[in-house]
């Protein structure tokens, strides 16, 4: 029960603004802005992004910070544990581990990013052509993919590594050749789904040209899927490169990559465990952060999870 003074004049008609009725109380945001805000709210993703940026910065600046480089040997200073001179210690040839680790990280990241980029280009092209042209072309292209999927990725990579001259370029190409299939499938599925959606039909009815439909409607909606998938392709590529180098098929000494470093560290696991730990920690950090970031991105841009 309210105890209020009800005066006669309160019962005069109210002055209402007609626009008040249609007022939407919360500010409008584009899908991108909305997703970005939600991503920033996700503490895990923000931390992961920060750590990644730090690691990337170190990968390029790390070796510069110390006066030692990654390939100079010094047989008088082999197998030093981390100390003031050599912040991460030295390896079996007396090379500065700090430099080697960050140089290795740089190589691993570069390989991964380039491979993922190639992956993206080939995959998106293949997938979108397949989905946009449809019909027989799509069928044939899909059959090819179905056969390719039946072959385990790593096998293809290993075989290709064997026939091509060893080196970074080979590694990248080998990884891309098998990796694009996933992206192609995703892109094709997304475009097919979008093609059938009613907003595309609506655009067509309004007379929008095909080119406009592709540029304005299909591509922006597919970018989400592509970015998120790339967030997972990169760590996958890092893993593949590290794995191959570890079992001896990828990069080899004196070139350094995280896989090579972990392998060298593993060989002296009995004595110089830090040589294994340090690159291991770094690779784990990179992969975990990408994973968290990828998940965060996916959640942030998922329209269903909007409150």
């Amino acid at each position: 029960m309210q105890n209020i003074e009800l005066t006669e004049d309160l019962f005069c008609p109210a002055e209402t603004d007609a626009s008040d009725r249609e007022k939407i109380s919360r500010p409008t945001r584009s899908a991108f802005q909305d997703g970005w805000i939600r991503l920033k709210q996700n503490k895990g993703s923000v931390i992961a992004l920060a750590i990644l940026l730090i690691l990337v910065a170190l990968a390029f600046l790390g070796p510069i910070l110390t006066k030692y480089n990654y390939y100079d040997t010094n047989y008088k200073a082999i197998f030093q544990t981390p100390n003031a001179e050599h912040w991460f210690g030295t390896d079996k040839f007396g090379r500065d581990e700090w430099s080697r680790v960050w140089y290795g990280t740089r190589i691993s990241l570069l390989i991964a990013v380039v491979a993922a980029a190639l992956d993206l280009v080939v995959g998106v092209t293949y997938g979108s052509i397949s989905a946009l042209l449809g019909g027989k072309v799509d069928s044939v292209m899909q059959r090819i993919i179905e056969v390719l999927i039946g072959i385990p990725n790593l096998i293809i990579v290993i075989l290709l590594m064997m026939i091509m001259p060893a080196g970074i370029g080979t590694l990248i190409i080998a990884m891309s050749i098998s990796g694009w299939v996933n992206m192609a499938r995703l892109v094709r599925a997304e475009i097919l789904k979008l093609k059938d959606q009613e907003f595309v039909l609506a655009a067509r009815i309004l007379g929008t040209s095909n080119k406009q439909i592709i540029l304005r409607h299909l591509i922006p909606n597919t970018v989400g899927v592509i970015v998120i998938n790339t967030m997972f392709t990169i760590p996958s590529a890092i893993f593949t490169e590290a794995f191959l180098s570890f079992i001896g098929i990828g990069l080899q000494e004196p070139k350094a990559s995280l896989g090579v470093l972990i392998n060298s560290g593993f060989q002296v696991i009995n004595s110089q465990v830090y040589l294994l730990f340090i690159p291991a920690v770094i690779i784990v950090l990179i992969m975990v952060c990408f994973s968290i970031l990828g998940d965060g991105l996916r959640d942030a841009f998922d329209p269903r999870m909007r409150i």
């Binding site: 179905e146 056969v147 039946g150 072959i151 385990p152 990725n153 790593l154 096998i155 290993i158 075989l159 290709l160 064997m162 026939i163 760590p235 893993f239 590290a242 794995f243 570890f246 079992i247 001896g248 098929i249 972990i262 593993f266 696991i269 009995n270 465990v273 294994l276 291991a280 690779i283 784990v284 992969m287 975990v288 990408f290 994973s291 968290i292 998940d295």
Partner: protein, 311 residues
């Protein structure tokens, strides 16, 4: 259903043929010979020719190819050059058991623990149990299996001396490798089951069951589980891949005399015939497993098994 299986079998054969052909021609475009350079140059020209002939390497490529295909159909995968004289099939056969043991154990352990974690995490959404499971699953998926294997070896084997780390001596030798492989499985399954379960728990029929007065435990077991576990079958394929590729590193690290370590050794030694044989084996294995999984899924899901009949 039958048509589907036949179609898949046809794909299987095509895929294998493609792989066999591709690997064959890849091998033959490789530089260098499969033989030890020093030893070969010690032989006279005549003797070299003989050696080549005994391995069938003196004939034109296409003849070698057809012979190769014919041999495969008869189960003959060629002779190894690394393990001189032994047939690839016999080496394979001898090494299957350790790999199978480690692999199957890894899958079983991974399934059990993964399922448990996933279910509990979804049920106790946004509590500490949930976060713990998420952390485990992110780590399990991100940490490369060879890093896990190396770390496990360091801690359990070298530092604390609890379990054997090398040589294949007793059953205990299989524990660490299986454990190392299982991490990835646990992580994948836990995360997947958690996601599925969370979706299922939002469904109307769960609310309906609550409205019927059914207790939470019964709802979990009777309604939620069945609908969440079905899709797990779909990631079994991905898990198989993980185990296959992971076994390469894990077996090498722990000295398990299995197919994975064989693959690594023969690649380093350029033992073409064995590499070919192994590639075929892996691919065939993988494709067959995928097919079995797909059939299994069709059989179990009543929505697919029974054609909808409306009146």
């Amino acid at each position: 259903m039958r048509k589907y299986i036949i179609k898949r079998l046809v794909y299987l054969v095509i895929t294998l043929l493609v792989i066999a052909t591709a690997t064959f021609f890849l091998m033959h475009s490789l530089p260098g010979t499969p033989f030890d350079e020093d030893k070969i140059s010690n032989l006279s020209q005549e003797q070299q020719k003989q050696v080549y002939a005994s391995y069938g390497l003196d004939q034109p490529v296409y003849i070698q190819y057809f012979k190769y295909l014919k041999n495969i159909f008869q189960g003959d995968l060629g002779t190894s050059t690394l393990y001189t004289g032994q047939s690839v099939q016999s080496i394979l056969a001898a090494r299957i058991v350790p790999s199978a043991l480690v692999g199957i154990q890894a899958v079983l352990v991974g399934l059990l623990i993964g399922l448990f974690l996933g279910i509990v995490a979804a049920y106790r959404h946004n509590t500490s149990m949930d976060y713990l499971t998420m952390v485990i699953s992110v780590l399990g998926i991100s940490v490369p299996n060879f890093v896990v294997a190396a770390l496990l070896q360091y801690f359990f084997g070298l530092k604390w001396g609890l379990l054997p780390v090398a040589y294949w001596e007793s059953y205990a030798s299989s524990i660490l490798p299986s454990l190392a492989l299982s991490f990835g499985v646990i992580a994948q399954i836990a995360r997947f089951v958690r996601t599925e379960m969370l979706t299922v728990l939002q469904q109307d029929y769960i609310l309906m069951a609550k409205a019927k007065g059914i207790s939470p435990v019964k709802i979990l077991l009777r309604h939620a589980l069945r609908n969440s576990l079905l899709p797990v079958i779909t990631i079994l394929g991905s898990i198989t891949v993980n185990i296959l590729t992971g076994s390469l590193a894990v077996e090498s690290i722990y000295g398990v005399p299995g197919i994975g370590s064989l693959f690594v050794d023969t690649i380093k030694a350029n033992d073409y015939s064995t590499i070919l044989g192994l590639t075929l084996f892996y691919s065939a294995f993988y494709v067959v497993v995928i097919l079995l999984i797909d059939i299994l899924y069709c059989v179990i899901d009543p929505r697919i098994r029974l054609a909808p009949s409306k009146e």
